[in-house]
Every structure is written in C-alpha cells, then in structure tokens.
Amino acid sequence: MVLIFKKIVYLLLVIVVNLYVCTYLANKLTAHMELRRGYRVSKAGGISLPFSRFFKYLSNEPGINFWTFMLFVFSFLIWSVSPLSASMVLIDMDSSLMVALLMLLVILTLNVSSHMLTGYNMIMIQSMRKTASVLFFMIPVFLNISGVVLINKTLGFKEIINSQYQYWNVIYQPLGFLTTLLSVLFIFKQFKLNRKSEIEAFSTDSCEGKGLGKAINRFSEYNIIFVLIYMLTVLYLGGYQNLYIVRGEVMLGLKFYLIFVIILIAERSIAKINDYKLIQRINIRYILPLSVVNFIVTLGFFIYRNIFGLI
C-alpha cells in the first residue's frame, strides 16, 4: 500500500515538474524565436511565470462540470499505465500501449465537450475543428504504432522497451519515426503553448482565462502532447534503456526534452495551419502515404519472417 502511494506521489511530482519546465521552455524559446526577450518581470529570467499563471487560473471561483472532471481523471489515469522506469509503473499490464491509446482518444474527445459550455458558438466550432484535425493526424500515428507492434510482437510498453536493448526501433523504422514526428509536430501546432495573441477571433480563449475548469482544460492539452512525445521516445528511441553508466530515467528525460525542444523550434518556423482542407491535403499527400508504405513494408517483412520463416 505504501509502495503504491509512494509511486503515485512520484508520478504526480514528475508531471508537475514536467509541466513547469515545459511551460517555461515554451515561453522562453518561442520568445527567442520571435526575436523577443520573453517573460522577465521578476529577476532570474522570469522563473516564476508558470506559478503565476497557475495561480491566475485559480483566482476565480471554481467552475467545474462533470466532463471537465472526467478530463482531469483521464489525464492522470493515462500515466498509470505508462512506465517511467522499470519499476515506476502503477498498473503493470500486457496491453498498456492499447489502453494508453484509447485513453488518449477519450481525452481528445472530452476536450471538445468541455468547450461546449463556454457560451460562444465560435469557440465550440474552433475547438471541434481543432480536435478533428488532431484526430486526422492520429491516423498515421496509429499506422506507425502498429508497425512497431508488428516488429516487437507485443502490445505492452515494457516489452517494447525491453526488446530495444540492442538496437532502437528507429533503426528498423526510420520512415515510421519521421512520419510520427511530423504528425506530432502538426498536432502540436494545433495547441497553442505560448502566450502569443493571435489575430483569429477567440483563439486566445484556449490558453487564457480564470477558473479551475480552464486550468484542467489547459492541462489536458499539455498532456496530449506529453503522451505523444513520450510514446515517440518509448516506441522508437529505447525509452528508459540505460546508456553505459547513465541511468534510464535520466535518458528518458533527456530524450523527452530533446524532442520537445526540436518540435517547439520547428513549430515556430512553419506557418500556422488551422485550415482543415490544407491539413487534409498535407496529410493525404505527404504523411499518410509514407506511413502506409512503412506499414506495408513492415507487414511484408513480418509475414515473410514469422509465417513463412524466410528471413
């Protein structure tokens, strides 16, 4: 019992620290990409910004409905099946990858429903459009994940990580890694992590405001990106595999932030795509075909190796 409680505390701590660092990085790095200085009202480079933003959310009466509560629950629940190290996992199950993907879909759909009660038509339409584009980019992600599953012949995170003890999956699946990274980049583009105000009506509503419901909503948006980057690290880059004397947890953190920073910088240097037609065109023309090719080639190898035993 104590062990589980300890694990929960650790998990919460990791999530909070991660939120803090990512909020800070998103603000500072994007400001530097836009030739600005970024937030620095207090000394030491404005390290208090994530705190002040969090307290601002809490400064209003907590308006929280059932859907927002469910969003909160699932946002934490998704981490219970994802191992952060060999022992740091709450629920150790065989098909943890499947469960995590399902929960991700639940978070994505709940994200819309929490916007429905804001009272503005425009906000609801925009959040629905956002979720639709995110779901559209999830298709290549699913294809690539099934490719990884075919290679490792398992549905659990742990087994996938353990099977990468010699070579990371990115060596077997370079195309899959690339398309997943691109999809995550375009999904990232849909959620605004920096505070820059946009020209579009009500676009600031997703990241500003007061009340606990707003904070949970914002947290879930961060969470979707965290989970996607975590999956990228685990499925392709070896997860918490040790590197010589460097510990696995440290390696996982390093890889996570490396991908986060790469995506953050890449996101600043491409144009915003809030256009559903254009998203379809990009996805159908470039990302989806590549991932389909990747999947078919993997499937071919799988059939030859395991069914006919040729390779």
């Binding site: 836009e34 946009e198 020209i199 254009l278 990009i282």
Partner: protein
C-alpha cells in the same frame, strides 16, 4: 491618343482624358448637366436630381464615356444644403469623373437612399453605400463577424450565409464607421484642414496631406521648389514601404508565421524610425504645407537613409525567401480570393489590388502630379488576382520604391523648400478643389469646397472603401476559414472608411 502624348500636346495621359471627357459631356449630355467644372485635375459635373437617371444611362451605355466602375458615393453638407458626390472611374481607375447632385433638404435620408438605388440600377456596386437597412437582423444569417472580433479589421460587420463551409451570400455593414455630419469638426481654416486630413488614412498619413496641398497649388498655379518636390517623393515612398511592410506583417500574422512576422515587423519599425526622424511622427506627419514642406531634411539624415537602403533591401529579400519557400503557405494563398480584372474595374478597385488582377495602371506614371517623371521605375503587375498575386505585387512594389529612394537620395537638389505664401492672406473666393494621388492602397481622392480661407466641406474617398465594396464578389464561394486571409490581403486602411451620414 499616343500621337498627342508623343507631341507633348498634353503633359500626361490624365490631362488628355480630361479633355476627352469634357468634349464628350458637351456632345452627349449637354441638357442634363447644369454646370461643367474643372476642379484641379478632375472634372466635376453638377447634375440636378431629376436628370441623374438619364445621365447615368448615358455614362453606362455610350462607349465614348468609358466609365466602367463606381469610385464611390459620399454625402456631405455645405453652405447650400445636403449634397451627394458620386465618382465614376474609367478603364484606368486613376481617371475619374465626379458628379455632384443636391439632396432634398427636408427628407435627406429617403432622398439619399432613393438616389443610391437609382445608381445601383446601372452600377450594382452602389449597394455598398446604402445606409443602414432596418430589415436586416442577425438571426437571418449563419455567421456574423463583428468589427471587434478580428484584430485589425475595424469599421465594418460581415454578415455571412454559409453552405457546407462555403460562403454563399454576404453583406457588409459599415454602420460603425459612419459618423454624423454634425459630429465632425466644422469651421476650420485651410491649414487646420491640412493637419487634420491625415487622420483619414491611418497607415500612410502623408498621402491625403499631399493631395490636399497639391489641390491648392494647382488652383493657385504655384510651382513648388524642386527640393520640396523631391522630399515629397521621398516621404511618399518611405510611407509606401512602411505600409507594404505592415501589410506583410499582417499577412504573416494571419497565417501564424511568427518568424516572418517578427522580421518584417523589425524592418517596418526601421522605416518608421526614418520617417520619425524626418517628420517627427510615425503615422501622421503634418509635414506638408501649401507651397512646399515645413522642414528641411539635413544631409546627415539623407546620408543615413542612403546607407540603410541596401540593408533594408537585403532583409526584405530574406523575408520574401522565408515566405515563398513555405509550401503550406503558398498552397493556402494560391487560388484564394480571386477577383477578375473586369469585376475589379467595376468595383473601382485601384492600386496594388487591381494590379494583381493584371491591370497595369499607376497614377505615378499616368499623372505628372509630383515629379515622379524624373525617376525610373516599373509598375509590377500580377496575373490572376488571387491572394498570392496581391502579396507578390506588394513585394515587387517595395523593391521599386527602394529604387526610387536611392535615386532621390542620389540627386537631391539644393535650394529652397518653401514658396512663402500665407494662406490666411490668400482669398480664394468660393471654389471646389479635387485631387487624387496614388497611395499604397490605391487612388485616394480628396474633395474640398473652400470659401475665403475657410473650408466649407471636405470629403475623402479612400480606395479601401472600394476594396470593401468588392468583398462580396471576392468572398463568394470562398471558404469560411479564409475570410480573414482574404480581407487581410486587400490591405484595408480602416481610417478611409470613416464617412458622413445623417440622422
């Protein structure tokens, strides 16, 4: 026409157009017109209300008139009562004809609406100038974009009817930008008017100032010193660059391209800094006066400007490379918001917007208004008239403006900057002055009625109004996501939308 121009009978195509138009008026509609008046470099006809319909019929149907588009309709009040000013443009939007007609003093509103409907029978673009129709309510429309909701697009509400995300029908309501005639500052003298007029163009305030000053200079037959003329050209081009860079900044912002946004914003601030050093203000220079300019520019400033031109040129090339290399951006811009050449002419579009549709005309070339004839530059022209062309044409115009700037700073003449005339001592009598100038958005036309040294009535007909009236045509069939992109690509300066209304 070419022969006459070649033999230098007329100094510019615009004067030739005026001669032709005056001749046509005398031949075809002598009976309808009560007075033909040459106000500065434009022709003004005074037509009585009952004759308006037959005159319009003649304009539309007689080929010699060649008046294809509607430049604008304005309402104002002078000493004699409420008046209506209608502007018709030819196949070159710079060449236009003004018609003034009186309105019924007792029911101004009804008379105005009746006359606008009469005009819209011949020129459908006139529907835009109708005053608030009470029958419109927000419930009949699928989406309403209020003026506050989109940043930078002020002064009008958009009512949209959608079908599968495509815009089927729309209506522009510019109620918010209409100010009652009694609310404007009245009884001002000429110098005050020159100071105030720049408030009608929020992006490039120098152009209405120069237009008004040139109107008086044209009337008084005043030849201004060459140095003052060159500095006017210099300021015009600086403002043009600043405006176009502001346009690129806005487009980059709409498309969420923050790298391009930041770098073009910095360039714009650089140009605005030069303008501020010269005039003392960033947007409203208050720098022109009748007979020249108020302050000389020092050699130091000219040298600094000369040094900065290559730097700005290189940076803008970089911005263009960043923007044009992005395939997602080009996919979004191409074939979006297309307006054909003939439709654009009908709505009276001018400036870069019509040049993007493939119509080569520029008042800087067609009129010897300021001494643009001394400098070599070309007029960039687009082909299809979509958002991409409008962006490309503006980039090309910046390069041409930089070319003019380097020529001006290279051969800035030495001498006086002001023909000393005190407007307070000049009694102009009662007269009407009109002048137009190529501002960054198009042709801005300034109509003034002067009595003594006091201004009786003043009217600014901005090109942004024409662009806005054409929005119905451009947006029809476009996708709902592209509304802000298309409006942004038309470069609407909200200050020009301010107009008079009654009641």
């Amino acid at each position: 026409m070419l022969g006459e121009l070649y033999n230098r009978t007329y100094s510019s195509p615009k004067l030739l157009f005026m001669e032709k138009m005056e001749r046509n008026v005398h031949i075809y509609i002598e009976q309808e017109v009560s007075r033909v008046f040459k106000a500065g470099r434009e022709i003004l006809l005074e037509i009585e209300g009952r004759n308006l319909s037959s005159a319009l019929h003649a304009f539309k149907n007689i080929a010699d008139f060649d008046l294809k588009g509607l430049g604008g309709i304005s309402f104002f009040k002078n000493k004699y009562g409420p008046q209506m000013l209608i502007n018709f443009t030819g196949s070159n939007p710079g060449f236009s004809l003004f018609v003034k007609t009186g309105l019924d003093r007792n029911n101004i509103r009804e008379d105005y609406i009746k006359k606008v409907k009469e005009i819209s029978h011949f020129y459908p673009a006139a529907d835009f100038y109708l005053w608030n129709i009470d029958s419109v309510n927000a419930g009949d429309w699928d989406a309403v974009i209020y003026s506050q909701t989109l940043e930078g697009f002020d002064g009008f509400d958009l009512y949209l009817n959608l079908e599968d995300g495509l815009i089927k029908k729309l209506w522009v309501d510019n109620e918010i930008s209409r100010v009652l005639d009694i609310e404007f500052l009245r009884h001002i003298n000429i110098s005050e008017a020159i100071t105030c007029i720049s408030r009608f163009d929020w992006q490039a305030g120098v152009f209405p100032e120069i237009a008004l000053c040139r109107a008086f200079e044209e009337y008084m037959q005043l030849k201004i010193p060459r140095r003052a003329d060159y500095i006017r050209v210099l300021l015009c081009e600086l403002f043009r660059i600043a405006n176009h860079l502001g346009f690129i900044t806005g487009m980059a912002h709409i498309m969420g391209f923050d790298t391009a946004y930041s770098s073009s914003f910095l360039e714009k601030e650089k140009v605005l800094r030069i303008i501020e050093i010269i005039t003392g203000s960033r947007y409203f220079p208050n720098f022109m006066c009748i007979g020249g300019i108020k302050k000389d520019i020092s050699n130091e400033v000219a040298g600094r400007l000369k040094k900065q031109i290559p730097e700005i040129y290189r940076n803008i090339l970089d911005i263009e490379k960043i923007l044009m290399d992005d395939f997602t951006l080009i996919e979004r811009l191409k074939d979006t918001g297309i307006i054909e050449r003939d439709e654009a002419l009908h709505y009276g579009l001018s400036g870069p917007n019509i040049r993007a549709s493939g119509c080569r005309n520029d008042l800087r070339k067609d009129d010897d208004f300021i001494s643009y004839g001394d400098f070599s530059f070309t007029v960039p022209v687009g082909r299809t008239g979509d958002c991409f062309n409008r962006l490309v044409v503006r980039f090309a115009e910046i390069y041409q403006s930089l070319k003019i700037l380097s020529q001006v700073t290279g051969k800035l003449p030495v001498g006086e900057i002001l023909k000393k005339i005190n407007p307070a001592h000049v009694d102009l009598g009662r007269t009407t002055l009109i002048s137009s100038i190529e501002c960054p958005h198009g042709n801005i036309k300034v109509y003034t009625e002067v009595e003594g040294n006091m201004v009786d009535a003043i009217c600014v007909m901005g090109p942004s109004k024409n662009s806005l009236s054409g929005i119905g045509e451009i947006l029809r069939g476009a996708r709902f996501e592209d509304v802000d992109l298309i409006i942004g690509s038309l470069d609407i300066s909200p200050g020009e939308l301010i107009s008079n209304s009654h009641g």
